[in-house]
């Protein structure tokens, strides 16, 4: 599958109430992603593309577009490097249709 899909365009249709400065998901030890994780599967499994594989081998996370599915936490089995909580009440994705 070589189709390039711009997921930002999809996320643009969604309604969010971003909790600025308080991301509900964190990478515990960024070094582990860079040095220990071969697959970096979060960078293609996350349905909102919150995780990006950087050119220098690091993985960065921006949670603003998060759909709160929980996949990243569950697939990070070997290193358990994802600290995952729900956003504070009322924040995060607000589905209009669901």
């Amino acid at each position: 599958m070589s189709t390039v899909v711009n997921v930002e365009e999809k996320l643009f249709q969604n309604r969010y109430k971003v909790d600025h400065g308080r991301p509900h998901i964190k990478i515990r030890q960024p070094d582990l992603c860079r040095n220990e994780c071969k697959s970096q599967s979060c960078t293609y499994v996350c349905p909102a593309a919150c995780y990006k594989a950087e050119g220098n081998g690091a993985v960065t996370l921006i949670t603003d577009g998060c759909l709160e599915c929980g996949s990243c936490r569950i697939i990070c089995t070997e290193l358990s490097n994802v600290e995952w909580e729900y956003p504070r009440g009322g924040h995060g994705i607000l589905f209009k249709f669901g």
Binding site: M1, V5, P47, G89, G90, I93, K96
Partner: protein, 434 residues
């Protein structure tokens, strides 16, 4: 908030609403806590509503529930890259009220269900995330919320907090979800005029069609696609086992899979011109019988997706959610009436009721299904291609005689899969379905 309630329900999806409604209706004091801005704002489903489970809770729900279309036709498609082979079942029986199943839009439906919960007397608080359970020794006695002074107490806490089941995990009632036990699904809602939908799907007003799909659309992963007709929109989605997404050598993202599915020559014309207004993702617990965790303990019961109550084979979830919610509430009502406390012993009736209901009976029937499909990806790649090729060969009129065509089809099956493999696959399917 230092009051004590009979029951606290965490979450306002179908299971939580069923539990809160049933308990409040019976006169128990009920607090329901929802983290979304309004009930439904965090919830995602296909969505099909099976009437029966809701009828048992609110018999006259059809009078004012926001329903989209009742389903009169069910299509099952097996796709390769260019074509599909399908079966359609359409019956006028499905046009006789009371209707059996409907498409719904969850944000609207959950809001409606929540209004019934409030009418029944429950206190519903939104925009509040429950962080953890409050324990007194090994007894759950309340919940801690992300509000100031947010400790609330109850005799029983019903965990309806969804597939991620954060609270039960934190409390150690069960472990982390396995990637092989959940499907990750993504979907879009595409709006178009009602007349367009009715013309494209050959239906009249309020009649609807569902299409379940499997085959090449999932890039060789174990999964399915779906298309549901709403009143003036179409929901289109695809889901695969999370472990398969992770292990896929093509590293295909869910949105790429969805986009490719939308471009399939058999699907694109049905959704052409649709205006996309929302993109959702959600996990579906599909581990079935063997993945259902401990369902109750001292002062707590678990319902709906958080308990893994989904029948993946029949694509049923919300009906199991509502039924488990209702049964948990009935258990709490009985325990309260008995007046002997709310330890595991007094809540054991919940498990007995689950086992007696279609919920555990159906999950038990298909207990081996997840592993059969999991270990045999040919069901999602080889067979869809073979079946489509067979149909193409047989139906293309090109001067080749039918006997030769038959031979070609048989040999294509045998080339891709040995006779023993074919027989083995048939046996595996039979054993898992019986």
């Amino acid at each position: 908030m230092s009051e004590k309630f009979d029951v606290i329900v965490v979450g306002a999806g179908p299971s939580g609403n069923a539990a809160a409604y049933t308990a409040a209706k019976a006169g128990l004091s009920v607090l329901q806590i929802e983290r979304g801005e309004y009930p439904g704002s965090k919830n995602v489903q296909g969505a099909i509503l099976y009437a029966n489970a809701l009828e048992q809770i609110i018999p006259d729900f059809r009078e004012d529930a926001p329903l989209e279309r009742h389903i009169i036709e069910q299509r099952m498609w097996v796709l390769d890259d260019e074509s599909f082979v399908g079966t359609h079942f359409r019956s006028d029986d499905y046009n006789k009220p009371p209707y059996n199943r409907y498409t719904i839009i969850r944000a609207q439906f959950d809001k409606w269900f929540s209004s019934k919960v409030k009418e029944a007397g429950a206190l519903v608080i939104c925009e509040t995330t429950v962080d953890s359970l409050i324990m007194d020794g090994d007894q759950v006695v309340g919940v801690r919320c992300d509000r100031q002074g947010g400790e609330v107490f109850a005799d029983v806490v019903i965990l309806a907090d969804g597939v991620n089941s954060t609270l039960a995990r934190k409390a150690g009632f069960h472990g982390e979800i396995q990637a092989g036990n959940v499907a990750l699904a993504v979907k879009e809602i595409l709006f178009m005029p009602q007349e367009t939908i009715e013309a494209r799907f050959n239906v009249k007003d309020e009649e609807g069609v569902v299409i379940e799909m499997f085959g090449k659309i999932t890039d060789g992963l174990m999964g399915t696609g779906f298309l549901y007709t709403n009143k003036d929109s179409i929901t289109l989605g695809v889901g695969c086992m999370l472990s398969d997404f992770k292990g896929n050598p093509n590293r295909t993202s869910p949105y790429t899979m969805l986009e490719k599915m939308k471009a399939h020559p058999s699907i694109a014309p049905m959704i052409a011109g649709g205006e996309m207004k929302e993109y959702c993702a959600h996990l579906i617990p599909e581990g079935g019988f063997h993945a259902v965790p401990k369902t109750f303990g001292n002062g707590w019961m678990i319902v709906g997706d958080s308990g893994g109550f989904v029948n993946a084979v029949h694509r049923e979830g919300s009906n199991l959610a509502m039924t488990t919610g209702r049964l948990a509430a009935e258990t709490a009502i009985a325990a309260k009436a008995a007046g002997k406390g709310f330890k595991a012993k007094q809540l054991a009736g919940y498990k007995a009721a689950l086992d007696e209901s279609f919920v555990m009976k159906d999950l038990h029937k298909y207990r081996d299904m997840p592993s059969v499909f999991h270990d045999n990806s040919q069901f999602f790649t080889t067979y869809p291609e073979l079946v489509n090729r067979a149909a193409r060969t047989m139906l293309t009129v090109d001067g080749i005689d039918k006997k030769t065509k038959e031979k070609e089809i048989f040999s294509s099956f045998r080339k891709s899969r040995s006779l023993a493999g074919l027989a083995g696959d048939a046996f595996k399917l039979w054993r898992a379905f019986r």
